[in-house]
């Protein structure tokens, strides 16, 4: 082979490769026999439930379900999970600091003026139910004889702290404490779709 033609060929190759475009991601050399299913892209961002415009901090709500159905409570704030944080107050109607779903609540037009409660402990984690420790086969038949109290002291203290702010505000309004103590009922001739709350 003539050295001059090799050199020319080499120079020509260099000129060609200098301007050459190579894909960074090359098409695969191997394809599976069946099409591999890929899940669709989900670009959804989770937001807390939209709070009804009729529900504001201090609004009196009527609980429609649960152990405290029919009771009227004070709305405090919406937690990041979307649930509403309410309080009886406990001394007035026995409803503690509790999470409640917006769908199971009627918002009345009565709003109590409460100063904004900025408490770090009022989060979802505080109210989440503690998972019971799972028992293995041997322990299943042994009764749980732990002396844990039903309601933690932390919760009781938090309740007292929050109600110390809410109760005086409630007592300022005439007849409001007795209103919160009473339960909501429907009497003859009353239909929820015709009532104004």
């Amino acid at each position: 082979v003539n050295s001059s033609t090799t050199k020319q060929w080499y120079q020509r190759r260099v000129a060609i490769t200098a301007g050459r475009q190579v894909p960074v991601q090359k098409s695969p050399r191997f394809y599976p026999t069946e099409d591999v299913k890929r899940p669709l892209t989900n670009r959804r961002k989770v937001k807390p439930t939209k709070l009804r415009s009729s529900i504001k901090p201090g609004t009196v709500l009527i609980l429609l379900a649960g152990a405290h159905r029919g009771k009227r409570v004070i709305f405090l704030k919406q937690l990041p999970s979307g649930l509403l944080l309410v309080t009886g107050p406990y001394k007035i109607n026995g409803v503690p600091l509790r999470r409640v779903d917006q769908a199971y609540v009627i918002a009345t037009s009565t709003v109590v003026e409460i100063p904004a409660i900025a408490n770090d402990k009022l989060t979802d984690a505080m109210f989440k139910r503690k998972a019971k420790p799972t028992k293995n086969e041997r322990e299943m038949f042994i009764e749980n004889t732990s002396e844990e109290p039903k309601i933690s002291a932390e919760r009781i203290a938090l309740q007292k702290e929050v109600d110390a702010v809410v109760v005086p505000a409630v007592k300022k309004v005439e007849m409001l404490p007795s209103y919160l103590r009473s339960k909501f009922t429907l009497t003859k001739g009353q239909f929820p779709h015709q009532l104004k709350f």
């Binding site: 009196v60 009527i62 009227r72 009345t108 037009s109 009565t110 007849m175 409001l176 007795s178 209103y179 009473s182 909501f184 015709q194 009532l195 104004k196 709350f197």
Partner: protein, 118 residues
């Protein structure tokens, strides 16, 4: 006399049921045994036929000829000052009270209940 008030031309009626419930109108003509032609230019009732059972008779009456035009009805209504006269009737007052009661909120209803029992 068995009845004091009669359905007649010019009788002011209070509409109990239907689209124009709560408004007053004047009987302009009779269509058949169960229907009237009414008009209420001052109260916003268009000239239309209405069933007899939708309507309650009031004490008030104006003098108009049968089937007269809406403008004539309007003139006679203002001359007789029916709107102020109707506001004094017990029917109008009861309707107002019923409307107020329906507009009560939950707290107001509670206060009313307590006030009634004490």
């Amino acid at each position: 006399m068995l009845y004091q008030r009669y359905i007649e031309i010019g009788r002011v009626c209070y509409i109990r049921l239907g689209e124009h419930a709560g408004k007053t109108c004047v009987v302009v003509d009779m269509v058949d045994q169960k229907h009237l032609l009414v008009d209420g230019p001052m109260s916003g009732v268009p000239r239309s036929t209405i069933r007899l059972n939708q309507v309650a008779i009031t004490d008030l009456k104006i003098a108009i000829p049968r089937g007269c035009k809406t403008n004539k009805v309007r003139v006679e209504l203002t001359k007789a000052d029916i709107s102020t006269k109707f506001a004094k009737t017990s029917l109008s007052k009861k309707a107002e009270a019923k409307k107020d009661k329906a507009g009560l909120g939950d707290f107001e209803r509670f206060k009313l209940r307590v006030a009634k029992t004490t």
